[in-house]
């Protein structure tokens, strides 16, 4: 069943009010003064004498009532730099004014004088003593996953294939930029804005202001896209807006414009992954050694968990008894890298999936065949020892993908075409991969998400969660899950917009966890509601449910019929955070993506001419939404692969305009053909699994494998811009 998006008409008509659409009487506009250098010590802040500063509100680190930090995993990132700065554009001072153009004038008229220190931009370089800025070695996080005894296998192996793969950063370019409004309401500081995780912001505010949670209220506005970019960064904007509002005694609105947003906010972690693989003559993988390095940027933020997901996906969906995965996330003086759809997995999956093609070429094997010989089967174990038990037949999945994409015919045709065409080359490539749904390891257990389901007097049901709808359809999906469970019209289900004073903490809207984890709690909550209303003739559903609900309220006037449901670790799921052994994820989604490309050797432009995305994501809850998630993710992945280059200058994005940072337009894509294999999963509601991040994993390896096929080349780096491809081919005709 496909319920039309419940908030769709409001979005289409522009009625959905994003944070910048709200008018707040007496509101000031806030802005940020930032560090002009990548590393150094603040000497002095110069205020131009040409400006009358008396009607500006000015905030610096001394105005922070609590701890000067943006609380997350660690507390190293200051909300406003006090003595040292670690990256270009680091916030130093805040300004607010009632007139936007005066604010801009103010922002232009302040100069931060800094005694510069040498910055570190090359994450691969061994840091000298002078460059150490975090611990004894600048390493934010180090992870090792071990299985079997790879060293002894390598010692005996006759064939060892190596490769080093690199991926660039990526900017989210959610179409709505970051923004927050803060104002005082009695004793309470109210912050509303564009955010994925209201409770992250609540935590960050309590620490920065050193006040109990009850003194804050965080409200989520409709979101104009997030993709991870509004997971941790909004805490910075929220703290800033709240500081200004408190000092001004008036509401303050901070809206980043596009250039500021692109220059200063988090981006995808750049990566370098090295593979060493022992294979036998039939192409069976005997041992894998994988060394991962992520550039974390200037502060820890979420790098440890991004790295974690990266390491857990590094081996790809292949059987191997002897594995060592080593991962590090390290400091550089770039603005912190952060959450981005896929969360570390697209980087390591690019490496393994490219490496599989490299191995196939080395052995003279068809890349599909090499995969078939190594794909995981039911009951096999991953590097962490977790048993695969999702019921999916990966070999069949790949075969179906190859058939849908017409691989065997195309391969023949392309060979002839490529021999005869003066400058066009065609190729086809594939990637097989998986994506763990929900938080890593014991993350969900720690979170202990809670949802409420309320039965209202008028027979309707209200859902209260902290889950945000950033376009992926949270409200629709949750309403649909409740509607299906209760057999009532999903349009009669009210999904409450997250507001920390109203909804329980059901965790952040990240990690493809909403439909699966939170949806499951909603499903359970609805069932519990049915049990409560069961008058002996079984749990009521449909019209009976609504009647029972109304009856209950007539008999118990004023009763708050609210069911609370909290996450329980599924029995038998074990995870050891220290050894990285056990069940890393409750379940996985699986996919085979295939790309056809045409390369123009006049211009070195690559065009994806056909894209097949086949995935097993459990039961598909809403076909239109699911297809939209896959297509949007593939488009984003295609951009990361071919078009989107974050050009760094002093560690930060130089091309911070949409004019110079190229995301795909409609003309750059061909139809993205989406297919599902549906094996109901016990983990999610109605058999669903996670879907949101999976599609980002496939495009990079599938497309680059296709380019390599077209050109008989071995490209190991993205983004593959035409300039890079030209240099790679060395002007070869």
């Amino acid at each position: 069943m496909s319920l039309d998006r419940v908030d769709g008409l409001d979005k289409l008509s522009g009625k959905s009010a994003f944070v910048d659409d709200l008018t707040v009487p007496g509101c000031l506009f806030g802005g940020t003064i930032r560090s002009p250098v990548a590393r150094g010590r603040i000497r002095k802040i110069h205020f131009s004498t040409a400006v009358d500063w008396s009607d500006f509100v000015i905030v610096d680190h001394r105005d922070i009532p609590g701890s000067n930090e943006v609380a997350l995993i660690e507390s190293d990132q200051p909300a406003l730099a006090s003595t040292n700065v670690r990256h270009l554009h680091e916030p130093v001072l805040l300004l607010a004014h009632s007139k936007l153009h005066r604010l801009r004038e103010g922002l232009r008229s302040i100069r931060v004088e800094i005694e510069a220190a040498p910055p570190l931009f090359d994450v691969e370089a061994q840091p000298t003593k002078e460059m150490l800025q975090h611990g004894s070695d600048n390493v934010f996080k180090r992870i090792d996953i071990r299985k079997g005894d790879p060293a002894s296998v390598f010692a005996k192996a006759s064939r060892v294939i190596e490769g080093t793969y690199r991926t660039g950063s990526q900017e989210h370019v959610y179409l709505e930029t970051q923004g927050m409004i803060a104002h005082q309401e009695g004793e309470t500081l109210v912050v509303r804005g564009s955010m994925q995780c209201p409770y992250y912001i609540l935590d960050a505010l309590t620490i920065a202001f050193d006040r109990p949670k009850e003194r804050f209220r965080v409200i989520q506005c409709p979101l104009g896209g997030g993709f991870g970019g509004k997971e941790e960064y909004p805490s910075v904007v929220a703290i800033h807006a709240a500081l200004l509002a408190e000092k001004a005694g008036r509401p303050v609105k901070i809206i980043y414009d596009r250039q500021e947003d692109m220059a200063v906010t988090t981006k995808r972690h750049p990566s370098r992954v090295r593979h060493r693989t022992a294979v036998d003559d039939d192409g069976i993988i005997l041992a894998m050694e994988i060394d991962i390095l992520f550039d974390g940027g200037a502060y820890v933020t979420l790098s440890p968990v991004v790295l974690s997901r990266g390491t857990l996906h590094a081996t790809g969906p292949y059987r191997c008894d002897h594995v060592h995965v080593h991962g590090e996330a390290k400091l550089t003086n770039s603005p912190p890298y952060g959450a981005f759809r896929g969360f570390g997995a697209p980087q390591t999956l690019f490496a393994i999936e490219r490496h599989m093609d490299v191995i196939a070429r080395d052995l003279g094997l068809d890349p599909g065949e090499l995969r078939r010989r190594n794909l995981l089967c039911q009951g096999d174990t991953l590097a962490t020892g977790q048993k695969v038990q999702d019921g999916v037949d990966l070999t069949a999945l790949l075969a179906r993908g190859e058939e849908l994409a017409g691989v065997s015919l195309a391969t023949q045709e392309y060979a002839a075409f490529n021999r005869s065409h003066p400058y066009l080359r065609r190729g086809v490539g594939r990637a097989t991969f998986y994506h763990g749904a929900g938080f890593t390891g014991s993350g969900e257990t720690h979170l202990a998400s809670e949802v409420w389901v309320e039965g209202l007097a008028d027979g309707r049901v209200r859902l209260l969660t902290a889950q945000t709808d950033m376009g992926q359809g949270t409200m629709t999906i949750l309403a649909q899950i409740a509607g299906e469970t209760l057999s009532v019209d999903p349009r009669s289900i009210e999904v409450v917009t997250p507001d920390t004073s109203l909804v329980p903490n059901s965790g952040p809207t990240v990690a493809s966890r909403t439909a699966m984890v939170v949806g499951k709690l909603i499903e359970d909550g609805c069932r519990e509601l049915q049990r409560i209303l069961d008058s002996g003739s079984g749990p009521p559903s449909g019209k009976d449910f609504q009647n029972a609900l109304e009856l209950h309220h007539r008999e118990n006037p004023g009763d708050l019929l609210r069911v609370s449901r909290s996450y329980q670790t599924p029995p038998g799921q074990n995870w050891d955070e220290v050894s990285y052994q056990g069940d890393a994820y409750a379940c996985y989604s699986w996919a085979a993506h295939l790309a056809h490309v045409e390369v123009d050797l006049r211009t070195f432009q690559v065009r994806v001419t056909d894209y097949v995305a086949l995935q097993e994501v459990g039961r598909v809850l809403n076909e239109v939404l699911a297809r939209g998630q896959i297509q949007g993710g593939v488009a984003q992945g295609l951009g990361w692969t071919l078009l989107e280059e974050v050009i760094l200058e002093n560690g930060a994005m130089k091309n911070h305009q949409m004019m110079n940072y190229i995301i795909p337009g409609s003309g750059d894509l061909s139809p993205i053909r989406v297919f599902f294999e549906e094996i109901p999963s016990p983990s999610g509601p109605g058999g669903a699994k996670g879907i949101g991040e999976l599609p980002l994993d496939g495009p990079a390896p599938a497309i680059i494998n296709a380019v390599c096929h077209a050109l008989s080349a071995s490209i190991r780096e993205i983004p593959l811009t035409p300039e890079v491809l030209m240099e790679f081919l060395g002007g070869k005709e």
Binding site: G14, G473, I663
Partner: protein
């Protein structure tokens, strides 16, 4: 002179407001006429989120001074018929909705000028409206559905 009286024929109604001279048409619509359906995605003319119909042509309202629109007809997303919205919703035209009002306006113009597609494909025609969520397939099928409808009627 830092302000002036701007008169527009806005969504079929004649309206006048005193607005700052420096305002873009986008600012005037959003902050002075209270029509926040038109969104700002970039302020550089790249994304098309701010598309409105000015004198019957689709333009980026972030690249027009309000002053330039004096006396002109302006159509914004707020004047879209419910039927059009409903059709677009069924195909997944919108996800987050930030690019959407601009897409709706470009699509509405196309429905009035379908002969444009003799010169280019729909995919090519829509390339001035960037969307980060949908990968465009949902958008294009929504518009195709509108075009089919128009054709059926004429």
């Amino acid at each position: 002179m830092s302000h002036f009286d701007l008169t527009l024929e806005l969504n079929g109604k004649k309206v006048t407001r005193k607005i700052p001279l420096r305002s873009r048409l986008l600012d005037a619509l959003r902050y002075d006429f209270g029509l926040t359906g038109t969104k700002e995605g970039c302020g550089e003319g790249e994304c098309g989120a701010c598309t409105v119909l000015l004198s019957g042509r689709p333009v980026n309202s972030c690249l027009v001074l309000a002053r330039q629109a004096e006396g002109c007809k302006v159509e914004t997303v707020e004047s879209t018929s419910t039927e059009t919205l409903r059709r677009l919703n069924a195909t997944g035209t919108s996800q987050c909705g930030a690019c959407t009002p601009g897409i709706v306006m470009t699509a509405r113009w196309l429905c009035d000028n379908p002969q444009t597609l003799d010169l280019m494909s729909l995919r090519e025609f829509m390339s001035g409206n960037l969307c980060r969520c949908t990968g465009y397939d949902g958008v294009l099928s929504g518009i195709e559905c509108l075009l089919d409808q128009e054709e059926g009627e004429s």
